[in-house]
C-alpha cells in the first residue's frame, strides 16, 4: 500500500477510535498509540525515504496535517469527556432544595422599641434632639412645672405612684421639657426635642390599662411656632407611622401644660373612616394630646413667654402599637411571650 494510503487509513481509523473512546484513560492510550514516538504515524514517516523527492514534501505535509487533525480530535474528545464527568458528578450531588435551611439565631427589637425608633429617626431628620430624664421624678418637675400645682383637679387625670410626698414615678415624660427648656440657650436657635421613655400610672393592669407604659413627648420652642406647625407636625407623625392615607383631625381638649390644648384623632384603621365598632362609628381614633405650651410652663422654666412660644405633644407608643398591629391586650407588651416578640419583623 502506498504511504499516502497508509496515512489516510491511520487517520480514519484513529478518528473512529477517538470517537469511540469513552474515558480519559482510553483517549490517552489512543494518543500514545497513534502519536507517540513509536506510533504508526512516526513509523510511517520514516518510510518517506522511499518516496520520490518530488512526492516527499507533499506526503510530509499530508502527514503533519493528519497528526494535527488527530491531536485536535483527541483534545476535543478530552474536553467532552471532562465535561461529561463533571456533569455526572454534579448530577450525583443534586439536593432537595426545598429542604429547610440551617437556622441562624436572630433576635427582634421589641415592638414598642420599633415605634420609638421610627419616631426618633423621623424627628432626628427634622433637626430634633432626643432627650432623656429620670424615671423617678420629683413632684416639682412632674407636676408643678407642668402647671399642675398640688390639689389641681387635673391631677386626678394621672393617678400617681408616690414614693414620698415629693418623689414619685414619673407619670409622663413631660418633665424633660422643663429640664430641657431650663438648660437651653435660646440665643443659639430653637429648642426642638422629643423625649421617649417609660412612664408609670397607679392603675390596675388589664387589657387596656398598664401601670407601666411608654410616652414620647415632643416640644418645639422658638420665636414663631404656630398651631399650624403643630398640625403639620402631627400629620407627619401619622403619615410616618401609619401611611399617607390617614388623615389627622384636631379636637379641643384640656391639659394644664398647654393652652390651647387639642386631642388628635387619625382615620380609623379598621374601617378607613367609614365607621365601625373599633372607632365607635366615628371613623376616627384618638391617638395623642397636644397643644401650645402654656405661658406658665414657659415662665417657670425661665423662658420669656412674650418672645418665645411653641407646641408640645405627647403620644403613647403602646397605644400606637396596639392600633397599628391590632394588639388587643396591652399586657402582651410586658409579659414577653416569645411567640409575641418574634412576630414583629415586617417593614410595614
Amino acid at each position: 500500500m502506498a504511504l499516502r494510503e497508509r496515512l489516510q487509513e491511520l487517520h480514519d481509523r484513529g478518528l473512529a477510535d477517538i470517537k469511540k473512546g469513552d474515558s480519559l484513560d482510553r483517549i490517552n492510550e489512543i494518543r500514545v498509540q497513534l502519536l507517540g514516538k513509536k506510533g504508526p504515524i512516526t513509523q510511517a514517516l520514516r518510510g518517506l525515504r522511499d518516496v520520490s523527492a518530488e512526492e516527499r514534501p507533499k506526503i510530509g505535509s499530508f502527514a503533519n496535517q493528519i497528526r494535527d487533525e488527530l491531536t485536535a480530535a483527541i483534545e476535543e474528545r478530552n474536553q467532552e469527556l471532562k465535561k461529561a464527568a463533571i456533569n455526572a458528578k454534579l448530577a450525583s450531588e443534586t439536593l432537595d432544595v426545598t429542604l429547610p435551611g440551617t437556622p441562624v439565631a436572630q433576635g427582634q427589637p421589641h415592638v414598642i422599641q420599633r415605634i420609638i425608633d421610627q419616631l426618633e429617626d423621623m424627628f432626628l431628620g427634622m433637626g430634633y434632639q432626643v432627650v432623656d430624664g429620670p424615671e423617678v421624678e420629683d413632684d416639682h418637675h412632674n407636676f408643678e412645672m407642668m402647671n399642675l400645682p398640688k390639689d389641681h383637679p387635673a391631677r386626678d387625670m394621672q393617678d400617681t405612684f408616690y414614693i414620698t410626698p415629693e418623689i414619685l414615678m414619673r407619670t409622663h415624660t413631660s418633665p424633660n421639657q422643663a429640664r430641657a427648656m431650663e438648660a437651653h440657650d435660646f440665643s443659639k436657635g430653637p429648642l426642638k426635642m422629643i423625649s421617649p421613655g417609660r412612664v408609670y400610672r397607679r392603675d390596675t393592669d388589664d387589657a387596656t390599662h398598664s401601670h407601666q407604659f411608654h410616652q414620647v413627648e415632643g416640644l418645639v420652642i422658638d420665636k414663631h411656632v404656630t398651631m399650624a406647625d403643630l398640625k403639620g407636625t402631627l400629620e407627619m407623625v401619622a403619615a410616618n407611622l401609619f401611611g399617607d392615607e390617614f388623615d389627622v383631625r384636631l379636637r379641643p381638649s384640656y391639659f394644664p401644660f398647654t393652652e390651647p390644648s387639642v386631642e388628635a384623632d387619625i382615620t380609623c384603621f379598621n374601617c378607613m373612616g367609614k365607621g365601625c365598632a373599633v372607632c365607635k362609628n366615628t371613623g376616627w381614633i384618638e391617638v395623642l394630646g397636644a397643644g401650645m405650651v402654656h405661658p406658665n410652663v414657659l415662665k417657670m422654666a425661665g423662658v420669656d413667654s412674650s418672645v418665645y412660644g411653641g407646641f408640645a405633644f405627647g403620644l403613647g407608643p403602646d397605644r400606637f402599637a396596639m392600633l397599628k398591629y391590632g394588639v388587643d391586650d396591652i399586657r402582651n407588651f410586658y409579659l414577653n411571650d416569645t411567640r409575641f416578640l418574634t412576630q414583629f419583623y415586617k417593614r410595614g
Partner: protein, 803 residues
C-alpha cells in the same frame, strides 16, 4: 353630663339632628361619649290598664291580669309584682317586644296559665337601679292615670328624648349645667340662648334675717346664702320633673330634694335643703371641723372628721359636710314643712380633699371642685325657692339670708389680632375674631387690632390671652387651621454618644439571637434585690397597687427570669431575651435613687432549633459567654476585657459564674442561674449576664484606625500541653503572650480534653500560635526559636508536659 335635647330646645331653636350636634360639640368644645335614647334597643312597650287582677290558682304570688292595651280584646298577662292591682295604668311589653338586656317577650304559659306579654318595672325597661324611684323598687311602675291605653310609653317616660352625653375636661366645669351647655351650643351655632325664667313670690310673713343668723368663714365659703320656704307638703315630684332627673341619670326622691337637683342641673349650682325645724339653733356656721368631730351623713355613715374638713354647723354640732353630703339629722323627711335652702360657693380644694378622703364623689362635690357660676348663685336660690313653694304648696319667706357674698370681678383680657394669627398660624380678620367673641356672648370692643374682652363669670376658666386663643381656634375650627412645619434656624438632629451606644447594644444582642424584652421595672422587693451588682437600698412605692409591683428594680435579670417563667409555663422551652433599661440604686438616706443604664440577657434551652440537618445550639456557660465576648468586642473598649471566677453572687451557680472586668473595673457578671433560684422561678437551667451599660459608655473607647493588612504570610505552630486541672486557660494564654516574642500575633485555643485517657487531675489544652511580621517574610528558624521559648516557659511555670 347627660344633656336632654328636649330640654336644650327650651333654650335654643336648633334645627339639627342630635348626632350632628354631638359631632359639632366634640369638634368644638368637649368630647361626646354617646348620643342615645333611653328607649334604644326596646320596642312594643305600651300603656295598659289592668281591668282585673285575679290570684293564680297554682301560685302564692302570681296574678292573672286582664289588661286593656287599646285593642278590641284585653290581653291576659301573668304578673308576679306585689303591687299590681285593678285599675292601674301599667307598662306592657306586648308579645314580640324587646325589653332591656336584649330580651324578647314571647307568648308563654306560667304554671299552666297563658301569659301574652309582661307588665314591666322601670328596671326592666333599662332604668338603672340608681335612678328608678324608690317607691317602685319592689314592683311594676304605675303610669299617670290619664295615659292612653295602647300608646307608646316612651314619650310618657321621656325615653324617646335624645340624650347627648358629654365628657367634660376639668376646665369646662361650666358645661356641667344646662345653662352652660346652652351658652356653648349657642356659641357654636351663633345663636343666643334663652335662659330660664321664673317668678318668685315672697308670700311668707317672716323675714329670713329674723329666722337665721350666720357666722361664715369667707375663705371657706366666699358665698353663702339661704332662703326659707315654709308650709310645704312633701310629696312626689310631677312627672315632668322626674323625667328631667332620670334623663340626667339622677333618682327622683321627693319634691324638695328633686328641686335642688333640678336647679343644680339647670344652673350648675349645687343646693342643699335642710329641715329648718331640725336645727338645734338658728345660727348657721361655716367652719372647719374639729379634729375627731363626728357627723352622720345622709347615707347613714358615721364619719370621723379631720380638722381640714369643712362643715356646716349649728351652735351645737356639724349638720353637713359642706358641699359634699348633708347630715342625717337635718334631712328632709315626709313630715318636713320648713325648708332652709343653701346656695353657696365653697373652696374647691377643700371640697376635693374631703370628697377624696371619704370617697364621697357626688354630683355636688364634683361641681364645687370644677367651679360654680357666681353670677347665677342668687338666681339658682330664687328659682329653687319659687319651685319648692309651687310644688310643695308652701310660702317663700322674705329676703335672703346672707352669710357671705364675696363679689367676683369679671376677667378683662386683651388680645391683639397679630398675636392671635401669630400663635394660630392663621390669617383671621378683625371681623372674624369679633364675630367669635360675639357668638360667645363675651362683651368685646376692638380698635381693629386690640380686642378688649370682658369674660362673664360663667367662664371662670378664661384668664389670659392664651385662653382666648383657644376660644378663637376652636370656634374658628381646627379643620380650618392650615398645616405647616416649623421653620427658622436649622438645628442638627443627632443622637448623643450614649444614645448611639444604647442603640448599637440592642442591634448587637439581636444579631446574637436575643429578642428584646421590656419587663416591668416595678417588682417585688425580694426580686428587686436579687442579682445586684452593688449595695443599695430599695426604692419602694408608698401606696402600691399590687403586691407584685412595689419596688423599683435594682437588676434586670429578675425581670427576664419572670419573662422566662411566663414562657416556660406556656410550653415555650427555648427562650432567649435581653433587656436594656434602668436599675435604681439608692444610698442609705438618700430619697431619690440613682438611675443606671444596664443591659442583661437570659437564655434557656437552645438559641436555634434542631433541624433535620443541624444540631440545636443549646445554651451553656460558654454560649452565653460568647455573646458577652461579642458584645464587649463590638463596644470597642480601650482596656482589655477579662473574666474571673466568682462565688460572690448568691443567686448564681458558684462554679459557673464569672465577674467581667474591663481593665480593673468590674462591669458585670455572666454565668448560670443558681439551680435553687431557677427552681424558685419554676424555670429550667438558665444562663444570664448583666452589664453596667453606663460604665461601658463611660469607659475609654478606642478611636477607629485602619490597620494595614500584612503583605507577608503568617506562620502558625500548634502546641498541646498536659497541665494540672487547676491551671486556667487565662493563665496559659497570658504566659504564651508574655513569652511569645515580638512576632506572636494571636493565640487560639482549639482543643480541651479531660478524661480517661489522661492521668487523674490533668487536662490537655491545645493552641495555635500565629506569628506575623509586617516588614518581611518570617524566617523559619526565628519562629522555631520563639516557639521553643514558649514551650520552655510552659514547662517551667506550669510543669506542663508537651504532647
Amino acid at each position: 353630663m347627660k344633656v336632654s335635647m328636649d330640654w336644650l330646645n327650651e333654650y335654643l331653636t336648633l334645627d339639627v339632628d342630635p348626632q350632628t350636634l354631638g359631632e359639632k360639640i366634640e369638634r368644638t368644645a368637649v368630647e361626646v361619649d354617646q348620643v342615645y335614647k333611653m328607649s334604644d334597643g326596646m320596642s312594643k312597650l305600651v300603656v295598659g290598664e289592668t281591668l282585673s287582677v285575679e290570684p293564680h290558682p297554682d301560685s302564692d304570688h302570681l296574678h292573672i291580669c286582664q289588661v286593656d292595651v287599646g285593642e278590641d280584646e284585653p290581653l291576659q298577662i301573668v304578673c308576679g309584682a306585689p303591687n299590681v292591682a285593678t285599675g292601674q295604668k301599667v307598662i306592657v311589653a306586648l308579645p314580640g317586644a324587646w325589653i332591656a338586656g336584649h330580651h324578647k317577650i314571647k307568648k308563654s304559659k306560667m304554671r299552666g296559665v297563658a301569659s301574652n306579654g309582661m307588665l314591666c318595672a322601670l328596671q326592666e325597661i333599662g332604668f338603672d337601679e340608681k335612678i328608678a324611684p324608690k317607691a317602685y323598687d319592689e314592683g311594676i311602675y304605675i303610669l299617670p292615670a290619664d295615659s292612653e291605653n295602647g300608646s307608646s310609653v316612651f314619650p310618657i317616660l321621656g325615653m324617646d328624648d335624645d340624650i347627648v352625653e358629654t365628657d367634660l375636661t376639668p376646665n369646662r366645669g361650666d358645661m356641667n349645667s344646662m345653662n352652660g351647655t346652652a351658652w356653648e351650643v349657642g356659641a357654636i351655632y351663633g345663636k343666643t340662648p334663652k335662659m330660664p325664667t321664673f317668678s318668685l313670690n315672697e308670700d311668707g310673713s317672716r323675714k329670713v334675717s329674723d329666722l337665721l343668723q350666720f357666722s361664715v368663714d369667707e375663705t371657706l365659703a366666699p358665698t353663702y346664702k339661704m332662703r326659707i320656704v315654709s308650709g310645704v307638703t312633701i310629696q312626689d315630684s310631677p312627672l315632668w320633673l322626674q323625667k328631667r332627673l332620670w334623663e340626667a341619670g339622677m333618682r327622683p326622691i321627693n319634691n324638695i330634694v328633686d328641686v335642688t337637683n333640678y336647679i343644680m342641673l339647670t344652673y350648675g349650682q349645687p343646693l342643699h335643703a335642710f329641715d329648718y325645724d331640725k336645727l338645734s339653733s338658728h345660727h348657721i356656721h361655716v367652719r372647719l371641723a374639729d379634729e375627731g368631730e363626728h357627723l352622720t351623713t345622709l347615707d347613714g355613715e358615721d364619719r370621723k372628721l379631720r380638722d381640714s374638713d369643712m362643715v356646716i354647723a349649728d351652735d351645737k354640732h356639724a349638720i353637713a359636710l359642706a358641699g359634699t353630703m348633708g347630715g342625717l339629722d337635718t334631712e328632709i323627711d315626709d313630715n318636713t314643712t320648713t325648708i332652709a335652702i343653701e346656695s353657696a360657693i365653697f373652696d374647691p380644694i377643700k371640697i376635693r380633699k374631703t370628697a377624696r378622703f371619704f370617697n364621697l364623689h357626688s354630683e355636688a362635690s364634683m361641681r364645687f371642685e370644677r367651679g360654680v357660676n357666681k353670677d347665677d348663685n342668687q338666681n339658682a336660690l330664687d328659682h329653687a325657692a319659687a319651685l319648692m313653694a309651687e310644688l310643695g304648696q308652701g310660702q317663700t319667706e322674705q329676703g335672703t339670708g346672707v352669710g357671705s357674698d364675696t363679689p367676683v370681678e369679671p376677667a378683662k383680657v386683651s388680645v391683639t389680632l397679630t398675636r392671635i394669627n401669630h400663635v394660630l398660624g392663621t390669617q383671621l380678620t378683625t371681623d372674624q375674631v369679633q364675630t367669635i367673641f360675639d357668638h360667645l356672648n363675651f362683651p368685646t370692643d376692638n380698635d381693629g387690632e386690640t380686642f378688649n374682652v370682658t369674660v362673664p363669670a360663667r367662664r371662670w376658666d378664661i384668664h389670659i390671652e392664651a385662653d382666648l386663643f383657644e376660644e378663637v381656634a376652636r370656634l374658628y375650627g381646627y379643620d380650618n387651621i392650615p398645616s405647616t412645619l416649623p421653620y427658622g434656624t436649622m438645628t442638627p438632629g443627632a443622637l448623643t454618644f450614649k444614645q448611639r451606644i444604647i442603640r448599637d447594644s440592642r442591634r448587637l444582642l439581636e444579631g446574637a439571637g436575643l429578642n428584646q424584652a421590656i419587663s416591668y421595672a416595678l417588682t417585688t422587693t425580694a426580686k428587686a434585690e436579687q442579682f445586684m451588682m452593688r449595695d443599695s437600698e430599695p426604692t419602694e412605692l408608698a401606696f402600691p397597687m399590687s403586691t407584685d409591683h412595689t419596688t423599683a428594680r435594682m437588676n434586670l435579670i429578675s425581670g427576664l427570669l419572670d419573662d422566662i417563667a411566663y414562657n416556660v409555663a406556656r410550653k415555650q422551652k427555648n427562650v432567649a431575651l435581653y433587656e436594656q433599661g434602668r436599675v435604681f440604686y439608692r444610698e442609705g438616706d438618700a430619697i431619690r435613687p440613682l438611675e443606671v443604664e444596664h443591659i442583661a440577657g437570659a437564655v434557656t434551652g437552645t438559641l436555634t432549633t434542631k433541624t433535620w440537618h443541624a444540631e440545636a445550639d443549646t445554651i451553656d456557660f460558654y454560649g452565653i459567654k460568647g455573646i458577652v465576648d461579642l458584645f464587649l468586642h463590638d463596644m470597642g473598649l480601650s482596656e482589655p476585657v477579662h473574666y474571673e471566677a466568682t462565688q460572690a453572687h448568691a443567686q448564681m451557680h458558684p462554679g459557673r459564674t464569672a465577674d467581667i472586668y474591663v481593665g480593673d473595673q468590674v462591669v458585670g457578671f455572666v454565668g448560670q442561674v443558681h439551680p435553687e433560684v431557677a427552681s424558685d422561678y419554676k424555670i429550667p437551667d438558665t444562663y444570664v449576664f448583666e452589664l453596667n451599660l453606663q460604665a461601658l459608655i463611660d469607659a475609654p473607647h478606642d478611636q477607629q484606625q485602619y490597620e494595614p493588612i500584612s503583605k507577608f504570610p503568617d506562620v502558625t505552630r500548634d502546641i498541646a500541653i498536659l497541665v494540672d486541672q487547676s491551671v486556667t486557660n487565662a493563665d496559659v494564654v497570658a504566659l504564651i503572650n508574655k513569652r511569645g516574642g515580638a512576632h506572636l500575633a494571636d493565640v487560639q485555643l482549639f482543643d480541651v480534653y479531660e478524661g480517661v485517657h489522661l492521668p487523674a487531675g490533668k487536662k490537655s489544652l491545645a493552641y495555635t500560635l500565629t506569628y506575623r511580621d509586617r516588614q518581611s517574610t518570617l524566617v523559619e528558624a526565628d519562629v522555631t526559636k520563639a516557639f521553643d521559648k514558649v514551650t520552655a516557659a510552659l514547662e517551667k511555670e506550669f510543669d506542663a508536659e508537651i504532647r
